[in-house]
């Protein structure tokens, strides 16, 4: 599903000095796998996740996602991939301030071009699935951190994506809420979805089948 060849990412750093966030990444991830990307902060793991999620483009090298060449794709093509094939979960949830849980979950449908009553029904089902059937009309400020992240998980599932990307999904949660979210991610993996999560927490990383270690933008276990 995911093929990275000699992938590099360079940013314009301060004082015109380029920052090499990723160098020579070689990575294959099979469909249905659950992978943890580990590394210290600044190791390039978020950059890698952004590229995997088609939010960013590599500076050099090749990225093929489900057979599509991402490096050469247009904004429209990348957006279409994000809308229909990829679901994001963020450390700080990124729910919109003043819309209800139900509307948060419906949002991705708008950009996948899906509309109608079925959208609302599916959003309702997804929220029930993550245990928030009683919280449909709640605003983010009325939800706990764990509940907010579960709304975000439901949102990520709205367009039935094949790839779930989670960036420190438990980073802002207490242990109990974190465990709930990790259980949900494991469930998604067992449904056959590919789950890639970024974390610096070893206990979280151990829930994955496979770990990718990053240090200074390079993979430490290239053979894996």
């Amino acid at each position: 599903m995911i093929e990275l060849d000699q992938l590099s990412k360079t940013f314009d750093g301060n004082a015109g000095k380029p920052v090499r966030a990723l160098q020579g990444i070689e990575l294959r991830i099979a469909s249905g796998a659950m992978v943890a990307i580990r590394g210290a902060s600044g190791s390039g793991k978020s950059s890698l996740l952004n590229i995997l999620g088609c939010l960013d483009r590599p500076t050099a090298g090749r990225y093929r996602f489900e057979g599509h060449d991402v490096a050469g794709a247009t904004d429209r093509q990348l957006s279409r991939l994000r809308a229909r094939r990829i679901g994001f979960i963020f450390q700080s949830f990124h729910l919109l301030d003043r819309i209800t849980a139900l509307e948060q979950v419906e949002l991705p449908a708008l950009y996948a071009g899906v509309r109608g009553a079925a959208t609302r029904a599916r959003a309702r089902d997804l929220l029930s699935r993550v245990g928030l059937a009683a919280r449909l009309r709640h605003y983010p400020s009325q939800l706990s951190g764990g509940e907010q992240q579960r709304v975000a998980v439901a949102r990520a599932l709205m367009n039935d994506p094949s790839l779930i990307l989670a960036d420190e999904p438990t980073g802002n949660l207490d242990a109990a809420s974190g465990a709930e979210v990790m259980a949900l991610l494991a469930e998604l993996h067992h449904e056959g979805r590919t789950v890639i999560l970024v974390t610096h927490d070893e206990s979280v990383a151990r829930r994955a089948e496979r770990q990718v270690l990053l240090r200074d933008g390079k993979m430490e276990n290239p053979a894996a």
Partner: protein, 406 residues
């Protein structure tokens, strides 16, 4: 549809900001509509009253005296330089169709049945009615025979008839005897009321008598206070004025403009002068509306920039769940388009209300100019969208990775 609902909800959520962004457009439109209506209404009313006084604009007014004679001319305040022969010569000019003679005074007491009144007394030539666009309410105008024989007959304006003959019904004055000073006259008609002239004074407080009678039997003066020359070709004022000026200089042996003993007036120039006040009002109105619109544009640009930078995370999130740059651009443009449209609608409504209230306050019929108002509203919407273009473009170019960085 869902985009429109969500844009409306975004606007509703930031109610104060939406108000601040639309206030200028609303005020500009309403102010522009109201003030241009007020000035158009007062301009129309002023023009109507000037026209009412003069009868027609296609004339030249010739008055004796070379200086700037101010106010109403009368026998007591003009030099005796404009003669009956001058009037005949003016009437014979190629650019002039006909000329009316006028000899008037304001200090004659008129008496009837023990009542007195001091109206304007106009000695006029036989073509006066035609030239002034006046009409008789009853009775008949002076016949050529009466003009020749210097008949002591009078025609009353509505105010005079009412003042001298308050009893006995509307036809009470016809055939009655009145005295102008010490000279007896017989009333042979009444003029149709003309209403008010500029400044609101009545145009019906006058008595007409034949100019020949006035000259020989009442005033004993052989000069005129005014000649009203009607243009042969309407609008051909300049040529006619040149002809009259040349003629009078020749007849009065004046070699230069400084020696002119007459004054020529173009009534449309007078009208333009009188309506200048309402034109100035229109200019002020346009300025105020433009000022409000400029402020509106600044407010929209500034507040939209603020909105875009505050909503960076939202933009990033929308991009992450599949929004293209174009749909982000569309979202922000839709928001500002809807806001501008609502503002334009409110501006039109408020402007309509303003016009209505102003017309009540002016006691003039309102001047509705809906096509212009709708054009202005449309322009306001376009302006709003134009102001939103750069911020919306900036929103669309926002890097989602940077926007979502925690």
């Amino acid at each position: 549809m869902i985009q429109i609902t969500s844009a409306l909800r975004t606007l509703a959520r930031q109610r104060r900001r939406s108000l601040a962004m639309s206030a200028g457009l609303v005020a500009g439109l309403a102010l522009g509509m109201t003030l241009s209506s007020v000035s158009a209404a007062s301009r129309r009313a002023t023009l109507a009253s000037v026209k009412n006084m003069l009868g027609t604009f296609d004339t030249i007014l010739v008055r004796p005296g070379g200086g700037k004679t101010r106010g109403m001319v009368s026998l007591t305040n003009v030099p005796p330089t404009l003669t009956f022969d001058d009037a005949d010569a003016i009437a014979a000019l190629p650019a002039i169709r006909q000329a009316a003679e006028l000899q008037n005074a304001f200090d004659i007491d008129v008496e009837a049945g023990g009542r007195t009144h001091a109206p304007a007394v106009f000695g006029v030539s036989g073509n006066w009615l035609d030239l002034r666009g006046d009409a008789m309410l009853e009775g008949s105008f002076f016949s050529p025979e009466q003009m020749r024989s210097e008949a002591r007959v009078a025609i009353l304006g509505a105010d005079v008839a009412a003042a001298l003959f308050p009893d006995g019904g509307p036809h009470a004055s016809l055939g009655q005897s009145i005295r102008l000073g010490t000279v007896p006259f017989q009333v042979q008609g009444r003029l149709a009321p003309r209403g008010a002239g500029p400044g609101g004074f009545s145009l019906d407080d006058l008595i007409l008598i034949p100019v020949t009678t006035a000259s020989h039997r009442l005033f004993n003066r052989n000069f005129l206070t005014m000649v009203v020359a009607q243009l042969r070709t309407p609008g051909d004022t300049a040529a006619a004025m040149a002809q009259v000026r040349t003629l009078l200089r020749q007849r009065h042996h004046a070699s230069t403009a400084a020696l002119d003993d007459f004054t020529l007036t173009d009534p449309s120039a007078v009208a333009a002068q009188v309506t200048a006040v309402s034109s100035r009002l229109a200019v002020i109105g346009r300025g105020a509306a433009l000022g409000a619109i400029v402020l509106a544009a600044i407010a929209i640009v500034a507040l939209m920039w603020l909105g875009v930078s505050e909503r960076r995370t939202e933009i990033g999130l929308r991009r992450a769940v599949g929004a293209t740059r174009a749909s982000i651009l569309g979202q922000f443009l839709l928001e500002i388009a809807l806001l501008s449209s609502l503002a334009a609608g409110a501006g039109l409504a408020l402007g309509g209300l303003g016009i209505f209230i102003a017309s009540r306050w002016q006691h003039l019929p309102p001047e509705w100019a809906w096509p212009q108002a709708f054009a202005a509203a449309f322009a306001a919407i376009l302006l709003g969208i134009a102001c939103g273009l750069t911020p919306a473009w900036h929103a669309a170019r926002t890097d989602p990775v940077a926007a979502l960085r925690r």
